[in-house]
């Protein structure tokens, strides 16, 4: 039996609860061959509290078949929470790997994200990440700075928008904006600094490449038009 849900996080947690009752069940967002049961999303998820971080991270990893990874993981750990530490188990191991990928990318982007000013006092940044980190990343910058800002996730066509104390995420089709004159001036100062700070006698581009992988460079100011 396959359980289908409405693609939302709440729907996914509801589907997990339902599928756990049956031994050979699976979960997906679309119907698959065989018997499918569509469940109605519930809001009450107290039962999942102890696994919240894991379930959320698996969901946001957007890995193919993530619902079944979560399901198999829960089958293994749900009766004995200590089993979360049994990292040689296949499912625990996989979930640890997913968590590591998510949190490393989040940590990396806290450094690599670059804002530019598009109107006086308002900033925008573009990201393109493997994991769906926009919510966590947005809340981080909400605490870090007081200015209004937008983070645009190019891959998922969504934005995190912050205006004063409020913030939300929404879908967008396309985003067109222009840098302010001040922005162009500050960028050239930054690029100048970035160039000057390297010691020629120590040049080591291999090391630099291992620290700033090429795939991230297309949104990092100092690596654009160099």
């Amino acid at each position: 039996m396959n359980v289908t849900y409405d693609k939302s996080f709440e729907g996914y947690v509801t589907a997990l609860k339902f599928a756990l009752e049956y031994e050979n069940s699976t979960i997906s967002s679309e119907d698959v061959l065989g018997e499918n049961i569509n469940i109605k999303t519930q809001e009450e998820h107290d039962w999942a509290k102890a696994f919240y971080v894991e379930l959320k991270t698996i969901y946001l990893s957007e890995k193919e078949g993530f619902e079944n990874i979560a399901l198999n993981y829960l089958r293994f750990v749900k009766n004995d929470i200590n089993k979360k530490n049994d990292i040689t188990n296949k499912w625990v191991n996989l979930v640890e790997k997913i968590k590591k990928s998510y949190f490393s990318e989040l940590h990396r982007m806290k450094g690599f994200l670059r804002f530019m000013e598009f109107e006086k006092g308002s900033y925008i940044a573009k990201i393109s990440t493997e994991n769906n980190i926009i919510e966590d990343l947005g809340s981080y910058f909400k605490k870090r700075m007081k200015e209004n800002f937008i983070i645009y996730d190019e891959k998922r066509k969504s934005i995190f928008i912050r205006i004063k104390d409020k913030s939300h995420i929404k879908k967008v089709e396309n985003l067109i904006f222009q840098k302010t004159n001040e922005e162009i001036k500050i960028e050239s100062l930054w690029k100048k600094f970035f160039n000057e700070i390297a010691i020629k006698e120590r040049t080591n581009e291999k090391l630099q490449k291992s620290k700033v992988p090429l795939k991230y460079r297309k949104t990092i100011t100092e690596f654009i038009n160099f």
Binding site: I186, S188, F194, I199, L207, Q208, S210
Partner: protein, 407 residues
């Protein structure tokens, strides 16, 4: 002078200062202790702070320094507002975590220190800056100014540079060891008074490596004392580059980067892994460039190995070459559920290339049985981790004495 040109001059002349840590920033949001790195420059060094000099106008004439008085270079100084503008604008765009402000000695130490404090004060009060600030303490500045600097900054540092105080006189005729140690010692007392919780505040220093004949033992011995007596958070090591071609200093073709790397590894062993200096180095000895200091230690103490991975304590595990703090913690967590086999290491994402010679798994040893450390050395050489330092060809040396036996 235009701001762009000033920035060019005053970042170029600040680049030799080692700095990276910003993890104790007063803006704290995540529980992770690791600091945020924003970029890495072409030399592979992390860029997390706007590292600049307030001025490169200098009254001192230190042999190794690009900014020394006798050098004929373009000189300039930032105004405090210019620094505040750069810091806040860069911070907003998420280029940096904060400011690392150092300076040449303009007029005299107190005059310079006062200007630096004025900048930091402005940045905090007028510009409302909550990011990280690191201030260099100018050697010889007075106590009141040092205290003020500590209050504005997340971290301060006084650079020792030359490990041997007797050589300091000829290399830096205007500096004395006292001008460095006195502020450092005063800062130690003030920091513990002001920041009782110890999470904030703190000081560090930098030592130049290869400018004098000081051995690694001498350098590490000083570092160990600084950690113990001066309560330093970090000692940075900086491979010497003879920019001035000064006769008092050695002419090196290339900065000794691998040696610098080894010193950082030894520093880590002392600070985090609870090694004592005399376990790693004998008096006046240098660190082995071929093997990292932990591997070298293990090779010198083969009688302690192999350890059984399922029984060894945490303190023992972190001393196994190739196993770090994170690895040891994972092993301890995982072995509660089942006896670990060598295949499990892959799942734990722990490399056993080095560790295999020093561990048994469920009683099974996968390395080679020998009392001759040279045999293990030969095998370890084939697996070298330091290939990021291509200048050191000596890594290909083999231990001939071992080649007579069977491997």
């Amino acid at each position: 002078m235009e701001l762009l040109e000033k920035l060019e001059i005053l970042s170029n002349s600040a680049k030799y200062d080692a700095s990276c840590a910003s993890s104790k920033s007063s803006f704290k949001n995540n529980s992770r202790l690791s600091g945020i790195c924003h970029s890495w420059s072409a030399d592979g060094r992390c860029v997390s702070l706007l590292k600049i000099l307030l001025t490169n106008i200098c009254e001192f004439d230190c042999a190794y320094c690009i900014n020394r008085k006798s050098n004929n270079i373009k000189r300039t100084a930032f105004t405090p507002d210019e620094i505040c503008l750069l810091t806040t604008e860069f911070y907003k765009r998420n280029y940096i975590e904060g400011l690392f402000l150092s300076s040449a000695v303009m007029k005299n130490p107190d005059f310079t220190m006062e200007l630096m404090n004025k900048t930091a004060s402005k940045l905090r009060k007028e510009y409302g800056f909550k990011g990280y600030i690191h201030l260099k303490i100018i050697p010889g500045s007075n106590e009141k100014l040092i205290e003020e600097a500590i209050r504005y900054a997340d971290r301060v540092s006084v650079n020792i540079e030359i490990a041997d105080s007797k050589k300091l006189d000829s290399i830096c005729p205007d500096k004395t060891r006292e001008m460095i140690i006195k502020p450092m010692s005063y800062a130690k007392d003030k920091i513990s008074e002001i920041y009782e919780n110890k999470k904030h505040g703190g000081q560090s220093t930098q030592l130049i490596v290869g400018a004098t004949e000081d051995s690694d033992y001498k350098i590490m011995n000083l570092a160990q004392k600084l950690y113990e007596k001066m309560k330093l958070k970090r000692v940075y090591y900086s491979a010497f580059i003879n920019i001035n071609s000064d006769e008092r200093l050695p002419a090196l073709n290339k900065p000794p980067l691998l040696r610098e790397h080894r010193l950082y590894q030894a520093d880590w062993l002392i600070r985090i892994y609870d090694f004592k200096l005399n376990e790693i180095l004998n008096e006046n000895e240098n660190l082995n460039l071929i093997f990292d200091p932990k591997t070298q230690w293990a090779l010198n103490n083969l009688n302690l190995f192999p350890l059984e991975i399922n029984k060894a304590s945490y303190d023992e595990l972190i001393r196994v070459p190739g196993i770090g703090i994170v690895g040891a913690k994972k092993i301890i967590k995982a072995r509660k559920f089942s006896n670990l086999k060598i295949e499990d290491m892959k799942k734990l994402r722990i490399s056993v290339k080095k560790a295999v010679y020093f561990l048994t798994f469920n009683g099974k040893y996968h390395g080679i049985t020998t009392n001759n450390p040279d045999k293990i050395k030969n095998l370890l050489i084939e697996y070298k981790q330091d290939n990021l330092f291509e200048d050191e060809k000596l890594l290909y040396t083999t231990y001939l004495s071992a080649n007579t036996g069977e491997l």
